[in-house]
Amino acid sequence: MSDTAEMVVFWIFAVPLIAGAAGVIVARNPVNAAISLVVSFFFLAGIYILLTAHLLAFLQVLVYAGAIMVLFLFVIMLLTTKDEEYARGRVKLMQVGGAFGALGVLAVVVKAVSDLGPMPMRLVGPEFGTVKAVGRLLYTQYLLPFEATSLLLLVAIVGAVVVAKQRI
């Protein structure tokens, strides 16, 4: 793919991604925020494919847009609240300060990135980021953390059941 075409594809994915992320904090209804987050996760998967991270893009759709967001939507539907009371609440000084703090973080990080100078991408082989390559890495060099991940997920499942259940 030529440079210009790749840049066009980058912007095609980046603009809806930022719009979706902004929609999460603009939306007043939590359901709308969740849908907006799903949209931004899909576009982020497109960015991952542009970075030749095919396995991670697949997992992004499967784990985030699939599993985690279904969990979120389920909990939102379970806990029906009147969302107007959040929207109507007074804007507090801390919130305004927090918004400006986030802008400050953005300014500092963007300054740091632009000070790095142009960072051209290295040419990588066709194997880079495929299921085979990443899987081999996970099962050799990262075998112990990989197994620890399964233990972590088990503990999380048991913990979630214990916390959420009323009586056991």
């Binding site: 440079d3 790749e6 980058f10 980046a14 991604l17 930022i18 999460v24 904090i25 939306a27 925020a33 931004s40 996760f41 982020l44 960015i47 991952y48 970075l51 030749t52 991270a53 396995l55 991670l56 784990v63 985030y64 969990l71 979120f72 909990v75 939102i76 806990l79 609240t81 959040y86 609440g89 801390m94 300060g97 927090g98 918004a99 703090g101 986030a102 802008l103 953005l106 990080v109 963007v110 990135v113 632009s114 790095l116 142009p118 960072m119 051209p120 991408m121 290295r122 880079f128 980021g129 990443v134 890495l137 990262y142 953390p145 972590l152 997920l153 999380a156 913990g159 059941v161 959420a164």
Partner: protein, 100 residues
Amino acid sequence: MVPANYYLALAAVLFSIGLAGVVVKRNMLVVFMCIELMLNAANLTFLAFSRQSGNLNGHAIAFFVMAVAAAEAAVGLAIVIAVFRTRGTLNVDEVTALKN
């Protein structure tokens, strides 16, 4: 090729949106969603540097971040359900049991 700076700037924007959401929003569930946004920004940074240096280790780290995020979402949402059951609200300003 798109330079790595573009991806890093995009990740910075995503992280800032998530950070702003965490401090501005009052709904506990939306705060959780913004934490997920920040984790995804970190993932994007890992993958950008991984691609830029031609090193696959960043992909493995991003995989672990995803697994930890899944565990965090499960436990966090269980805590949200427990809080809602005892307090009857999801507003983070009204859940102040640890304040004094």
